[in-house]
């Protein structure tokens, strides 16, 4: 079932053009000039119920603008959106009742009142039945480790605590759809882990559809099967994480530990143009290569011919490097097809 559907969605903002200095400011006062800045170009997007989708892109690509249109915060300049059959900006309240949203940069909680009271206020706002509220509260407090700070007001919480409270707040009413905009920004490793596990559990147990934007690719590998990459307001890739990995994460590294130094081999390898040698110690080195060019057994075999290998381990390129290449404009996921390995 298609739960989120956007067709030809666009958003542009009017931006003032101001020349620098006092003169420029005065000029703007009497004859203001504006330009239309296009944040989102005609964009088609479909998300199936129960999916976890990572929505990626460099800063300023239009990720948050899209999420804000889907949540009903912004009115699109053109195009249509349907979220579970509801138009989010025309029927904002109906839509708000069926979604949860966490914006990492900004809390949804009341600043001055204790978290527990914020939650009880949300219970009334979303008209959550007592039994559901109790079950969720108990579960969330335990899973997110909130008992130590639930009586404090939001302004007194650390970032990690606040984010956990925000996440719990967004899910109290069991929404079928959850939007997360940079949910792990600025968090330490242990809190990140807690949050990821929590989201995973909610997705699996309640089939909550999750759409998340992030710059932390650990979030994606842990949570998302599908990847949508956007840049300059347009989608440049939409497909499975596995495909990106197997097609584009081409670099493979093999780490060797050998019984005795192998100067001849290393010399030979250092000359090879498509194999990168990295010497870590007298008896330890690593070789990086394109896994479409060489197979791992070829490389290992070559080393073993020259001497005794005590130990070796292999690492594949992670998704982070692939995404970085895409952001830098050096890889077009849509059009470039990987060459088949020799």
């Amino acid at each position: 079932m298609r739960i989120i559907e956007a067709r030809q969605l666009t958003k542009s903002f009017r931006q003032a053009v101001k020349e620098p200095g006092l003169k420029g400011a005065a000029k703007h006062l009497f004859a203001p000039r504006y330009i239309e800045k296009i944040a989102v170009q005609p964009l088609d997007l479909t998300v199936e119920a129960g999916e976890t989708v990572a929505y990626l892109g460099p800063n300023g690509a239009g990720k948050s603008t899209t999420i804000k249109m889907l949540t009903g915060i912004l009115t699109p300049s053109s195009g249509t959106i349907s979220v579970n059959g509801i138009n989010p900006y025309k029927k904002r309240m109906e839509n708000a009742a069926q979604i949860g949203a966490v914006f990492g940069q900004r809390t949804q909680l009341w600043w001055d009142i204790p978290i527990l009271e914020s939650f009880s206020l949300l219970k009334d706002i979303y008209q959550i039945p007592e039994a559901v509220y109790k079950t969720n509260m108990n579960q969330f407090i335990e899973l997110l480790g909130m008992s130590e700070f639930i009586h404090l007001s939001a302004r007194k919480l650390s970032l990690g605590q606040r984010m956990r409270a925000d996440l719990a707040a967004s899910l109290l009413h069991n929404p079928p759809i959850l939007y997360l905009d940079e949910p792990t920004i600025g968090l330490d490793v242990s809190v990140k882990q807690k949050i990821r596990e929590f989201i995973k559990k909610i997705n699996q147990e309640q089939q909550t559809t999750v759409m998340l934007t992030t710059h932390d690719l650990g979030d994606i590998e842990d949570l998302c099967k599908r990847l949508i990459i956007i840049d300059h307001g347009a989608i440049i890739y939409d497909g499975s994480l596995k495909d990106v990995k197997s097609n584009f994460a081409r670099e493979r590294v093999v780490f060797f530990q050998v019984a005795s130094p192998l100067p001849a081999l290393l010399n030979q390898l250092a000359q090879a143009p498509d194999i990168k040698l990295d010497i870590q110690g007298e008896l330890e080195f690593s070789l990086s290569f394109d896994r479409f060019e060489y197979t791992a057994s070829e490389i290992v075999g070559r080393v073993m011919k020259h001497g005794e290998v005590v130990d070796f381990r292999m690492e594949d390129a992670n998704i982070e490097q692939v995404i970085k290449t895409v952001y830098d404009g050096n890889l077009d996921l849509k059009h470039s097809r990987p060459q088949e390995g020799a």
Binding site: F13, T65, K68, T75, M93, I99, R106, D112, D124, I125
Partner: protein, 265 residues
Amino acid sequence: MQLSRIIYLYKRMYAQQLKAIMEYNKDFYILLCSAALTQVLGFIFLNVIYNQIPDINGWKFWEVSFMYAMIFLTEGIGSLFFEGTWRLSGLVNRGELDRYLLRPVPIVLQVFCTGIGVNGLGNLLIGGVIIWQSLIHSHIHWSIAKIAITLLLLVSAVIIRVSINLVGNSAAFWIRNAGNAFPLMVHSMADLAKYPVTLFNQGVRILISTVLPYAFISFYPATYIFEKSGWSGWWMLAPVVAFGSAAAAYCIFRFGLTRYESTGN
């Protein structure tokens, strides 16, 4: 959404704000007294003028005091219960309306409950006392109907005041400066209605009876309560004006909301 639910949510959110200000506002009494002092000074000034002359255009001291007090009584109620309208520009410019738009609660209601203006309590108390005194000193023949109509006029006055505040502050959707002066300008116009409209020329009279209907807060209710001939029947428009202002304010606010751009992207 049902009215009972709206009132319930308002009460819940308002109570939370109340708890917050009781914890953090240490200048509670200063705010309270400064607002009251301003109004008391104005009242003394009025008294000094009336010591020199018996009436202004046929309006006596207590009658003008009534109009004067109606303006800041409604202002007091506005700050005490609908202070959030004054925070709208901050909410829009800092993108904090995002959070409100994510909740299944009418936006206007959430804006109203954004804060509580404690200074309103000072205005409310002093305004109440002066109105009380002006009614006692004016030898009015009270009947059940007159009491009911007076209360209706009071409710209309509050609605008109809050609606005008909301419209003035909705300018934030168009004027993107953190400290835009438009709402304050609209607000100061209310001073014109502290005195009988007959003091002013035709232009001002029309302005404060139509576009910014402040005269329906003070002057027209006064013509009814003090039974001024020549203005009979005009007060009946007050509830209509209240309804119209509220509807217009709501539409303007909703229209402004479609222009809301949040922050960042």
